[in-house]
Symmetry: C2
Subunit: 479 residues, 2 copies
């Protein structure tokens, strides 16, 4: 399905028709009533285009004039949202053809993914109609499009700020989760596309669009199946160099693959094929939403390190040992700092209770902002070090001097501005204490605001960092 300017209108519609909108919440299942919900959400997002509810039994819905059919709408329709029950969908698609509407988002579920004969038959029918009418269908069985720059969202409380990250997802719930999760990580979106069963438009189609979308710089995706695997691999290989492509492939295992069949009706791929895909294309592999978050943030904020030699700094000997193990498992070296660096550190760090070799376990540097800054300076200037991983674990407890967090955050932000070596922070906490949690959220936002990536654990920091370095090495070895 080739792209044209007509489809562009789906991402920035002036006129949206909603089929299945109903004024009575109860008939459509209360909170699940998608028709009214879509109108509410578009309004919440500040959508400025026209919205036409389609319902032959109503004259007005949510203060808007209702039309009996798409064909009776006087405007040319940029996007049709379909939320009628599955058996009624074929007739709506026929109506789309009559009305000349080409861009369709089918929210409705109940097709191939049910595994039931009726659902499969309905799936075949809508596929035939869509192909016959040349319809560009997002879905069925999906949440559709979230485009902040066009004030477009079909789930509640979407953020209206836009950014350089695109996300393709065959799961609507994961798309929503990521959109919400992203708020705390300073990630903002160009386009989020939840496309469910991929009736006519598949990830390859969306990828073609995102490849040239000037708003999009990083592309993430949650995939369950790909119709044209070879095309997908060719595309990713080409796009990945300019716009990092982060892929979470669900259903790599046998039970996961069965769950895929029940979810979007797709064919889950074999693990070996997908391993080859990652190897050949250099795409970045994620295995969870947490990894999608960590990797996206890393690509957004970090400059590539020159190598895998990491300086670790935190407080606590056990934490230091654990961090070193984690880094080694992820393929990093944790070299002993040069004699020169250690000599200079020894100038203000007493031997008892402090380790200056690397990992650095220096209480006096975390209780004194001046010492903290000197330490950062010294390790960043050590020629044996490529990247700095700063643990702020100890501050994420109920103890410690109350104003120190703020002071050290200021030092980090000031230091990061003049520092040339990549620096990341891990803000792990082991408490449910709401005060500590909100402190964590606050410090994370401040550091992210200064362009410093912040992870919820050393484990997550080092894993994301390892994949980030691997990405850059892929192109180094290739050229």
């Amino acid at each position: 399905m080739p792209w044209d300017t007509e489809f562009e209108a789906a991402f920035n519609p002036k006129v949206i028709a909603i089929v299945g909108a109903s004024s009575s919440a109860s008939t459509s299942g209360g909170m699940w009533a998608p028709g009214v919900g879509f109108i509410t959400r578009l309004r919440e997002m500040g959508f400025t285009g026209r919205i036409h509810p389609i319902n032959p039994k109503a004259t007005e819905i949510a203060g808007l004039k209702a039309y009996p059919s798409l064909a009776s709408v006087p405007d040319p329709i940029d996007l049709v949202i379909v939320s009628v029950p599955a058996p009624a969908v074929p007739a709506v698609l026929e109506d789309c053809i009559v009305a000349g509407a080409k861009n369709i988002h089918i929210f409705t579920a109940g097709f191939e993914e049910t595994g039931e004969p009726e659902g499969e038959e309905l799936g075949r029918r809508i596929r035939e109609i869509a192909h016959r009418g040349g319809l560009r269908v997002v879905g069925p069985n999906c949440m559709g499009l979230y485009v902040p720059s066009a004030n477009l969202a079909y789930w509640p409380e979407g953020c209206t700020e836009s950014g350089p990250v695109a996300f393709l997802s065959q799961s609507g719930r994961l798309a929503q989760d990521w959109a919400e999760y992203a708020q705390g990580y300073g990630v903002r979106f160009s386009k989020v596309i939840s496309y469910g069963n991929a009736l006519t438009l598949d990830c390859t189609d969306f990828l073609e669009y995102l490849a040239t979308d000037p708003e999009t710089k990083i592309i993430g995706m949650y995939l369950e199946g790909v119709r044209d695997g070879q095309k997908f691999a060719r595309q990713v290989k080409e796009i990945n160099r300019q716009k990092p492509v982060i892929v979470w492939k669900g259903g790599l295992t046998e039970p996961g693959s069965r769950a895929v069949a029940s979810h979007t009706g797709a064919l889950g791929g074999e693990g070996a094929i997908w391993s080859a895909f990652f190897k050949q294309t250099g795409a970045i592999r994620a295995d969870s939403l947490e990894e999608i978050a960590d990797l996206t943030m890393t690509f957004l904020y970090l400059k590539p390190p020159g190598g895998r030699r990491v300086a670790l700094m935190g407080v606590g000997g056990g934490i230091s040992v654990a961090s070193a193990d984690i880094c080694a498992w992820e393929g990093f070296q944790v070299p002993t700092l040069t004699a020169k660096t250690r000599r200079e550190l020894r100038g203000f760090v007493p031997p008892a209770g402090n380790s200056i070799r690397n990992p650095l376990d220096i209480a006096v540097a975390l209780l004194n902002p001046t010492n903290f800054e000197r330490t950062l300076e010294l390790i960043a200037n050590d020629p044996l070090i490529d990247v700095l991983l700063i643990g702020r674990h100890w501050f994420m407890t109920r103890y410690g001097p109350p104003d120190m967090h703020q002071k050290l955050t200021e030092v980090l932000i000031r230091f990061a501005k003049r520092n040339n070596k990549p620096l990341v922070v891990a803000l792990q906490t082991y408490t449910d204490d709401p005060e500590v949690r909100s402190k964590q959220t606050k410090i994370r936002a401040e550091l992210l605001g200064a362009g410093i990536p912040v992870y919820d654990s050393q484990q997550r920091a080092s894993r994301a960092l390892a994949k980030f370095i691997q990405y850059h090495e892929f192109y180094k070895t290739e050229s």
Copy 2:
């Protein structure tokens, strides 16, 4: 070092002497002033025994009569806490010998772990004195003992409730973290022993004590090195069958091992040796504090499943796929439910938007407590299922019907009482929203209160469950 009744007094002391207590916070470094801190903390814990500060320059400290030396204390001393600077420790140990005090906790750091000649020499000297005087030393370089039943704690805000879990740790920070983290997981302690450099008492000594301690049912540990590895393996093999032994070995990698040397001066072991240890003893391996928490909770609350066939239930197709992948990676089967179960589920679950094969993705069961209970009942009675993993992911967002969480929690608690199959819950959340976080904390506490293990993610749930099953299989295949 054999145990005797005299050492028992260290865990339940009537008389504690604190060497290095000072009335002036500033001279000992403000918040780091351990001497006064120890007195404050013992009082906070409600310690009812006698506390004698030792300081030749003071007559009274924190309202207590100060003595110039241990030898001048009229009482027999059950436990001496040493918090003077490292160079002064040898003289204090000589004073212990004169005073006849045998149980010593050395808080002070600055010995072998510094890697400096002075520290190493001091280490040799205190070792010689301790051996000569037959002193039982906890430490140096550690936080000592936390025994809630004896109102004993040397770090702030210790919980005064006791429980069946013991923890041995060469890291004081990790011991404190775990004690705090444990609060949210319903884990309470018999004894937590932070023992740092293990001058005379090593983990094998403490293990000998815990093996017969009637208060202790589960033993966890964070180890950096073990002096007598063969003895340790023999002990663990014997104890593990009655009291599960969960071991986190820090320093399994080369940089981790170097960090160990800088932390407690211990020799980190080789990875291969430790792999063999786990294989031979059946001890449960943990690689992080999160795993210590998850495994301890699992052993506390769960009955062993009959096998590895898991029923997965959550909301969201993508989450279902991800959960199935995670379970398969951890060695579980996720079988399709029997035709009979599916037929009965179909009685109240419509095909569209719901999957009943397994994973179960059933919105109508999570929006209706009656349906939820019927679904639990049906999957628990399915002969193909050994264990139930219930994801409550969807409820951990800002959306969803506001009172549903409470209702479903009540159903789960009621159901768990009559249900015979092991059941666990994952309460994952992707938001910083304090309301959602506090809801998660509240639901977790309620479910744990009813004996249902609760994990922060499906990943963590399935990993802990896999290790739990592996433990029980170890003894099945052995007998």
